[in-house]
Symmetry: C2
Protein backbone atom coordinates (compact mmCIF):
# COMPACT_ATOMS: atom_id res chain seq x y z
CA UNK A 1 0.00 0.00 0.00
CA UNK A 2 2.72 2.46 0.92
CA UNK A 3 4.39 1.98 -2.44
CA UNK A 4 1.23 2.80 -4.38
CA UNK A 5 0.95 6.00 -2.44
CA UNK A 6 4.55 7.01 -3.24
CA UNK A 7 4.77 6.77 -7.00
CA UNK A 8 8.22 8.28 -7.51
CA UNK A 9 11.43 6.32 -8.02
CA UNK A 10 13.16 5.93 -4.70
CA UNK A 11 15.22 3.47 -2.63
CA UNK A 12 13.01 0.94 -0.93
CA UNK A 13 13.13 0.81 2.85
CA UNK A 14 12.97 -2.22 5.09
CA UNK A 15 9.39 -3.51 5.23
CA UNK A 16 8.43 -2.13 8.64
CA UNK A 17 9.45 1.38 7.62
CA UNK A 18 8.26 1.10 4.02
CA UNK A 19 4.73 0.27 5.12
CA UNK A 20 4.55 2.67 8.03
CA UNK A 21 2.17 5.59 7.75
CA UNK A 22 -0.36 7.30 9.99
CA UNK A 23 -3.90 6.22 9.14
CA UNK A 24 -7.05 7.67 10.67
CA UNK A 25 -9.21 4.69 9.69
CA UNK A 26 -8.96 2.18 12.53
CA UNK A 27 -10.81 -1.09 13.02
CA UNK A 28 -13.55 -0.44 15.57
CA UNK A 29 -13.73 -4.16 16.41
CA UNK A 30 -10.07 -4.74 17.15
CA UNK A 31 -9.02 -5.03 20.76
CA UNK A 32 -5.51 -4.50 22.01
CA UNK A 33 -4.45 -7.43 24.18
CA UNK A 34 -2.06 -7.20 27.10
CA UNK A 35 0.64 -9.12 25.25
CA UNK A 36 0.66 -6.64 22.36
CA UNK A 37 0.54 -3.74 24.78
CA UNK A 38 3.50 -5.17 26.67
CA UNK A 39 5.66 -5.48 23.59
CA UNK A 40 4.86 -1.92 22.46
CA UNK A 41 6.13 -0.48 25.73
CA UNK A 42 9.05 -2.91 25.74
CA UNK A 43 10.10 -1.38 22.40
CA UNK A 44 9.92 2.13 23.84
CA UNK A 45 11.84 0.93 26.88
CA UNK A 46 14.90 -0.12 24.90
CA UNK A 47 15.19 3.06 22.84
CA UNK A 48 18.48 4.92 23.23
CA UNK A 49 18.60 8.18 25.20
CA UNK A 50 21.21 10.73 26.27
CA UNK A 51 23.23 9.15 29.06
CA UNK A 52 20.60 6.36 29.15
CA UNK A 53 18.38 8.83 31.03
CA UNK A 54 15.12 7.30 29.67
CA UNK A 55 13.22 10.55 30.30
CA UNK A 56 9.83 9.15 29.29
CA UNK A 57 6.63 7.85 30.77
CA UNK A 58 3.26 6.88 29.31
CA UNK A 59 -0.39 6.68 30.31
CA UNK A 60 -2.60 4.42 28.24
CA UNK A 61 -6.31 3.70 27.95
CA UNK A 62 -8.02 0.97 25.95
CA UNK A 63 -11.28 1.59 24.11
CA UNK A 64 -14.03 0.90 26.63
CA UNK A 65 -12.02 1.31 29.82
CA UNK A 66 -12.14 4.12 32.34
CA UNK A 67 -8.82 5.73 31.43
CA UNK A 68 -9.87 5.87 27.78
CA UNK A 69 -13.13 7.54 28.79
CA UNK A 70 -11.25 10.15 30.85
CA UNK A 71 -8.79 10.85 28.03
CA UNK A 72 -11.02 11.03 24.97
CA UNK A 73 -12.84 14.31 25.80
CA UNK A 74 -9.46 16.04 26.28
CA UNK A 75 -8.48 15.45 22.62
CA UNK A 76 -9.27 18.15 20.06
CA UNK A 77 -12.62 17.46 18.42
CA UNK A 78 -11.02 16.75 15.05
CA UNK A 79 -8.88 14.06 16.64
CA UNK A 80 -11.73 12.56 18.68
CA UNK A 81 -13.59 12.04 15.43
CA UNK A 82 -11.18 9.37 14.20
CA UNK A 83 -9.15 8.41 17.29
CA UNK A 84 -12.20 7.00 19.09
CA UNK A 85 -12.13 4.04 16.69
CA UNK A 86 -8.54 3.11 17.57
CA UNK A 87 -8.01 0.29 20.05
CA UNK A 88 -5.92 2.35 22.41
CA UNK A 89 -4.76 5.85 23.29
CA UNK A 90 -1.34 6.56 24.73
CA UNK A 91 -0.21 9.85 26.28
CA UNK A 92 3.52 10.51 26.01
CA UNK A 93 5.17 12.37 28.88
CA UNK A 94 8.71 13.67 29.13
CA UNK A 95 10.83 14.40 32.19
CA UNK A 96 11.80 18.04 32.72
CA UNK A 97 13.85 17.73 35.93
CA UNK A 98 15.31 15.03 38.15
CA UNK A 99 12.66 15.59 40.81
CA UNK A 100 9.94 18.01 41.94
CA UNK A 101 12.44 20.25 43.77
CA UNK A 102 15.18 20.12 41.15
CA UNK A 103 16.11 22.65 38.50
CA UNK A 104 15.05 22.00 34.92
CA UNK A 105 17.53 19.89 32.96
CA UNK A 106 20.17 22.08 31.33
CA UNK A 107 20.90 20.52 27.95
CA UNK A 108 17.39 19.34 27.25
CA UNK A 109 17.42 16.24 25.07
CA UNK A 110 14.23 14.90 26.54
CA UNK A 111 11.98 15.71 23.59
CA UNK A 112 14.49 14.16 21.22
CA UNK A 113 14.75 11.06 23.41
CA UNK A 114 10.99 10.75 23.81
CA UNK A 115 10.61 11.04 20.03
CA UNK A 116 12.94 8.09 19.60
CA UNK A 117 11.09 5.99 22.16
CA UNK A 118 7.81 6.72 20.38
CA UNK A 119 9.34 5.85 17.01
CA UNK A 120 10.51 2.51 18.39
CA UNK A 121 7.03 1.85 19.76
CA UNK A 122 5.51 2.77 16.37
CA UNK A 123 7.79 0.45 14.44
CA UNK A 124 7.13 -2.40 16.87
CA UNK A 125 3.42 -1.76 16.28
CA UNK A 126 3.98 -2.36 12.56
CA UNK A 127 5.79 -5.61 13.42
CA UNK A 128 2.73 -6.96 15.25
CA UNK A 129 0.24 -5.90 12.59
CA UNK A 130 -0.86 -2.59 14.06
CA UNK A 131 -0.60 1.03 12.99
CA UNK A 132 -0.06 4.16 14.99
CA UNK A 133 -1.22 7.74 14.42
CA UNK A 134 0.49 10.37 16.53
CA UNK A 135 -1.13 13.69 17.32
CA UNK A 136 -0.47 16.80 19.36
CA UNK A 137 -4.01 18.17 19.35
CA UNK A 138 -5.23 17.70 22.90
CA UNK A 139 -5.56 19.82 26.02
CA UNK A 140 -2.22 18.85 27.48
CA UNK A 141 -2.49 20.80 30.75
CA UNK A 142 -5.92 19.24 31.29
CA UNK A 143 -4.47 15.75 30.72
CA UNK A 144 -1.72 16.52 33.24
CA UNK A 145 -4.30 17.68 35.80
CA UNK A 146 -6.70 14.79 35.17
CA UNK A 147 -4.03 12.12 35.67
CA UNK A 148 -1.88 13.82 38.31
CA UNK A 149 1.23 14.26 36.17
CA UNK A 150 3.69 16.13 38.42
CA UNK A 151 5.12 19.50 37.41
CA UNK A 152 8.59 18.11 36.64
CA UNK A 153 7.08 15.94 33.89
CA UNK A 154 5.32 17.34 30.81
CA UNK A 155 2.50 15.83 28.76
CA UNK A 156 3.96 15.99 25.24
CA UNK A 157 1.86 14.17 22.63
CA UNK A 158 -0.73 11.51 21.97
CA UNK A 159 -0.68 8.22 20.10
CA UNK A 160 -3.65 6.30 18.72
CA UNK A 161 -2.88 2.65 18.10
CA UNK A 162 -4.95 -0.06 16.49
CA UNK A 163 -5.58 -2.17 13.43
CA UNK A 164 -5.91 -0.27 10.19
CA UNK A 165 -9.30 -0.33 8.40
CA UNK A 166 -10.51 0.53 4.91
CA UNK A 167 -11.18 4.26 4.44
CA UNK A 168 -14.82 3.45 3.66
CA UNK A 169 -15.54 3.14 7.38
CA UNK A 170 -15.85 6.93 7.28
CA UNK A 171 -19.21 8.53 6.45
CA UNK A 172 -17.83 11.65 4.82
CA UNK A 173 -16.23 11.65 1.39
CA UNK A 174 -13.48 14.09 2.47
CA UNK A 175 -12.47 11.72 5.22
CA UNK A 176 -12.21 8.85 2.76
CA UNK A 177 -10.15 10.96 0.36
CA UNK A 178 -7.84 12.11 3.13
CA UNK A 179 -6.89 8.50 3.79
CA UNK A 180 -6.00 8.02 0.11
CA UNK A 181 -4.05 11.24 -0.37
CA UNK A 182 -0.52 10.55 -1.64
CA UNK A 183 2.11 10.94 1.03
CA UNK A 184 4.61 13.68 0.47
CA UNK A 185 8.09 14.60 1.70
CA UNK A 186 10.87 17.02 0.77
CA UNK A 187 13.47 15.45 -1.54
CA UNK A 188 16.63 14.24 0.18
CA UNK A 189 18.64 16.79 -1.81
CA UNK A 190 16.95 19.59 0.15
CA UNK A 191 17.99 18.41 3.60
CA UNK A 192 21.13 16.26 3.31
CA UNK A 193 24.50 17.89 2.72
CA UNK A 194 27.88 16.28 2.01
CA UNK A 195 29.63 19.43 3.21
CA UNK A 196 28.45 22.96 3.94
CA UNK A 197 24.79 23.44 4.84
CA UNK A 198 23.38 24.67 1.56
CA UNK A 199 20.04 23.48 0.22
CA UNK A 200 20.75 24.89 -3.23
CA UNK A 201 24.03 23.01 -3.72
CA UNK A 202 23.25 19.62 -2.19
CA UNK A 203 24.28 16.28 -3.60
CA UNK A 204 23.91 12.86 -2.02
Amino acid sequence: MALERVPEQRPELTTLLERRWSPRAFDWQHELGSEDLGVLFEAARWAPSAGNSQPWSFIYGLRGDETHARLMPLLDEGNQRWARRASGLIVTIRQLAAGPDHDLFGADHTQFDLGQAVAHLSIEAMAIGLHVHQFSGMDRPAVAAEFGVPAHWEVTSGIAVGRIAEPEIFDEQWEIERERKPRDRRPVSEFVFAGDWNPSASSV
Copy 2:
Protein backbone atom coordinates in the same frame (compact mmCIF):
# COMPACT_ATOMS: atom_id res chain seq x y z
CA MET B 1 23.85 -10.87 21.00
CA ALA B 2 21.33 -8.46 22.46
CA LEU B 3 19.52 -11.29 24.21
CA GLU B 4 22.66 -12.47 25.96
CA ARG B 5 23.18 -8.98 27.24
CA VAL B 6 19.60 -8.75 28.59
CA PRO B 7 19.28 -11.82 30.79
CA GLU B 8 15.89 -11.09 32.35
CA GLN B 9 12.58 -12.54 31.19
CA ARG B 10 10.94 -10.10 28.84
CA PRO B 11 8.83 -9.92 25.67
CA GLU B 12 10.97 -10.29 22.57
CA LEU B 13 10.94 -7.40 20.11
CA THR B 14 11.01 -7.55 16.34
CA THR B 15 14.51 -8.44 15.17
CA LEU B 16 15.65 -4.96 14.09
CA LEU B 17 14.77 -3.54 17.50
CA GLU B 18 15.86 -6.58 19.49
CA ARG B 19 19.37 -6.43 18.05
CA ARG B 20 19.75 -2.67 18.11
CA TRP B 21 22.26 -1.19 20.50
CA SER B 22 24.94 1.47 20.37
CA PRO B 23 28.38 -0.05 19.98
CA ARG B 24 31.63 1.87 20.08
CA ALA B 25 33.61 -0.85 18.30
CA PHE B 26 33.32 -0.19 14.58
CA ASP B 27 34.99 -1.95 11.67
CA TRP B 28 37.81 0.29 10.52
CA GLN B 29 37.84 -1.37 7.08
CA HIS B 30 34.17 -0.98 6.25
CA GLU B 31 33.20 1.75 3.78
CA LEU B 32 29.76 3.23 3.52
CA GLY B 33 28.59 3.15 -0.11
CA SER B 34 26.29 5.70 -1.68
CA GLU B 35 23.45 3.21 -1.96
CA ASP B 36 23.50 2.50 1.79
CA LEU B 37 23.83 6.19 2.53
CA GLY B 38 20.85 6.93 0.31
CA VAL B 39 18.60 4.43 2.03
CA LEU B 40 19.56 5.74 5.51
CA PHE B 41 18.45 9.25 4.63
CA GLU B 42 15.40 7.91 2.81
CA ALA B 43 14.36 6.30 6.09
CA ALA B 44 14.76 9.60 7.94
CA ARG B 45 12.85 11.34 5.15
CA TRP B 46 9.69 9.29 5.66
CA ALA B 47 9.52 9.69 9.43
CA PRO B 48 6.34 11.32 10.73
CA SER B 49 6.45 14.90 12.04
CA ALA B 50 4.01 17.45 13.42
CA GLY B 51 1.97 18.76 10.49
CA ASN B 52 4.45 16.96 8.20
CA SER B 53 6.84 19.83 8.89
CA GLN B 54 9.98 17.67 8.47
CA PRO B 55 12.07 20.06 10.56
CA TRP B 56 15.35 18.22 10.03
CA SER B 57 18.53 18.39 8.00
CA PHE B 58 21.81 16.47 8.07
CA ILE B 59 25.46 16.94 7.19
CA TYR B 60 27.50 13.81 6.65
CA GLY B 61 31.14 12.94 6.19
CA LEU B 62 32.65 9.58 5.27
CA ARG B 63 35.90 8.35 6.82
CA GLY B 64 38.68 9.73 4.63
CA ASP B 65 36.76 12.58 3.01
CA GLU B 66 37.11 16.31 3.63
CA THR B 67 33.85 16.78 5.53
CA HIS B 68 34.81 13.96 7.90
CA ALA B 69 38.18 15.62 8.48
CA ARG B 70 36.49 18.94 9.28
CA LEU B 71 34.00 17.31 11.65
CA MET B 72 36.17 14.93 13.64
CA PRO B 73 38.17 17.53 15.64
CA LEU B 74 34.90 19.14 16.77
CA LEU B 75 33.81 15.99 18.62
CA ASP B 76 34.66 15.63 22.31
CA GLU B 77 37.91 13.73 22.71
CA GLY B 78 36.20 10.75 24.31
CA ASN B 79 33.97 10.42 21.27
CA GLN B 80 36.77 10.92 18.75
CA ARG B 81 38.52 7.96 20.35
CA TRP B 82 35.94 5.46 19.08
CA ALA B 83 33.95 7.38 16.45
CA ARG B 84 36.96 7.75 14.15
CA ARG B 85 36.68 4.05 13.34
CA ALA B 86 33.07 4.34 12.14
CA SER B 87 32.46 4.55 8.40
CA GLY B 88 30.54 7.80 8.61
CA LEU B 89 29.59 10.70 10.82
CA ILE B 90 26.25 12.46 10.55
CA VAL B 91 25.35 15.77 12.18
CA THR B 92 21.65 16.18 12.97
CA ILE B 93 20.17 19.67 12.67
CA ARG B 94 16.71 20.86 13.61
CA GLN B 95 14.72 23.81 12.32
CA LEU B 96 13.96 26.56 14.85
CA ALA B 97 11.98 28.97 12.65
CA ALA B 98 10.42 29.10 9.18
CA GLY B 99 13.17 31.40 7.89
CA PRO B 100 16.04 33.64 9.00
CA ASP B 101 13.73 36.59 9.67
CA HIS B 102 10.91 34.61 11.28
CA ASP B 103 10.05 34.17 14.94
CA LEU B 104 10.96 30.91 16.63
CA PHE B 105 8.34 28.19 16.27
CA GLY B 106 5.78 28.43 19.08
CA ALA B 107 4.88 24.86 19.98
CA ASP B 108 8.30 23.39 19.42
CA HIS B 109 8.04 19.76 18.38
CA THR B 110 11.20 19.90 16.32
CA GLN B 111 13.42 17.99 18.75
CA PHE B 112 10.77 15.31 19.09
CA ASP B 113 10.40 15.09 15.30
CA LEU B 114 14.15 15.02 14.72
CA GLY B 115 14.45 12.24 17.29
CA GLN B 116 11.95 10.17 15.33
CA ALA B 117 13.76 10.77 12.03
CA VAL B 118 17.03 9.66 13.64
CA ALA B 119 15.36 6.56 15.11
CA HIS B 120 14.05 5.62 11.66
CA LEU B 121 17.53 6.09 10.20
CA SER B 122 19.01 3.95 12.99
CA ILE B 123 16.57 1.11 12.46
CA GLU B 124 17.11 1.20 8.70
CA ALA B 125 20.85 0.95 9.46
CA MET B 126 20.15 -2.31 11.33
CA ALA B 127 18.21 -3.56 8.31
CA ILE B 128 21.23 -3.13 6.04
CA GLY B 129 23.70 -4.69 8.46
CA LEU B 130 25.03 -1.53 10.10
CA HIS B 131 24.92 -0.10 13.60
CA VAL B 132 24.60 3.45 14.81
CA HIS B 133 25.94 5.17 17.92
CA GLN B 134 24.42 8.54 18.71
CA PHE B 135 26.23 11.14 20.75
CA SER B 136 25.79 14.71 21.92
CA GLY B 137 29.39 15.38 22.92
CA MET B 138 30.69 17.78 20.30
CA ASP B 139 31.21 21.51 19.98
CA ARG B 140 27.85 22.22 18.40
CA PRO B 141 28.31 25.98 17.87
CA ALA B 142 31.67 25.23 16.23
CA VAL B 143 30.02 22.69 13.90
CA ALA B 144 27.39 25.29 12.97
CA ALA B 145 30.09 27.86 12.22
CA GLU B 146 32.31 25.45 10.29
CA PHE B 147 29.52 24.32 7.98
CA GLY B 148 27.53 27.56 7.70
CA VAL B 149 24.41 26.32 9.47
CA PRO B 150 22.09 29.37 9.58
CA ALA B 151 20.81 30.77 12.89
CA HIS B 152 17.28 29.48 12.36
CA TRP B 153 18.59 25.90 12.37
CA GLU B 154 20.34 24.26 15.33
CA VAL B 155 23.02 21.59 15.37
CA THR B 156 21.49 19.02 17.72
CA SER B 157 23.41 15.75 17.89
CA GLY B 158 25.85 13.42 16.16
CA ILE B 159 25.57 9.91 14.76
CA ALA B 160 28.40 7.50 14.05
CA VAL B 161 27.42 4.78 11.60
CA GLY B 162 29.30 1.72 10.43
CA ARG B 163 29.74 -2.01 10.71
CA ILE B 164 30.08 -3.38 14.22
CA ALA B 165 33.40 -4.98 15.19
CA GLU B 166 34.56 -7.24 17.99
CA PRO B 167 35.40 -5.33 21.20
CA GLU B 168 38.97 -6.64 20.96
CA ILE B 169 39.78 -3.97 18.38
CA PHE B 170 40.30 -1.70 21.39
CA ASP B 171 43.70 -1.53 23.08
CA GLU B 172 42.45 -0.79 26.55
CA GLN B 173 40.77 -3.37 28.75
CA TRP B 174 38.19 -0.87 30.05
CA GLU B 175 37.12 -0.14 26.49
CA ILE B 176 36.64 -3.83 25.80
CA GLU B 177 34.65 -4.28 29.01
CA ARG B 178 32.48 -1.26 28.23
CA GLU B 179 31.34 -2.97 25.02
CA ARG B 180 30.33 -6.08 26.97
CA LYS B 181 28.57 -4.33 29.83
CA PRO B 182 24.97 -5.56 30.17
CA ARG B 183 22.42 -3.09 28.88
CA ASP B 184 20.07 -1.70 31.44
CA ARG B 185 16.68 0.03 31.47
CA ARG B 186 14.02 0.94 34.02
CA PRO B 187 11.26 -1.69 34.29
CA VAL B 188 8.08 -0.94 32.35
CA SER B 189 6.17 -0.79 35.64
CA GLU B 190 8.06 2.38 36.55
CA PHE B 191 7.06 4.40 33.50
CA VAL B 192 3.80 2.99 32.08
CA PHE B 193 0.50 3.72 33.83
CA ALA B 194 -2.97 2.37 33.09
CA GLY B 195 -4.52 5.36 34.84
CA ASP B 196 -3.14 8.07 37.11
CA TRP B 197 0.57 8.88 36.84
CA ASN B 198 1.95 7.02 39.82
CA PRO B 199 5.19 5.05 39.63
CA SER B 200 4.48 3.29 42.93
CA ALA B 201 1.11 1.90 41.87
CA SER B 202 1.72 0.93 38.27
CA SER B 203 0.46 -2.20 36.59
CA VAL B 204 0.68 -3.13 32.92
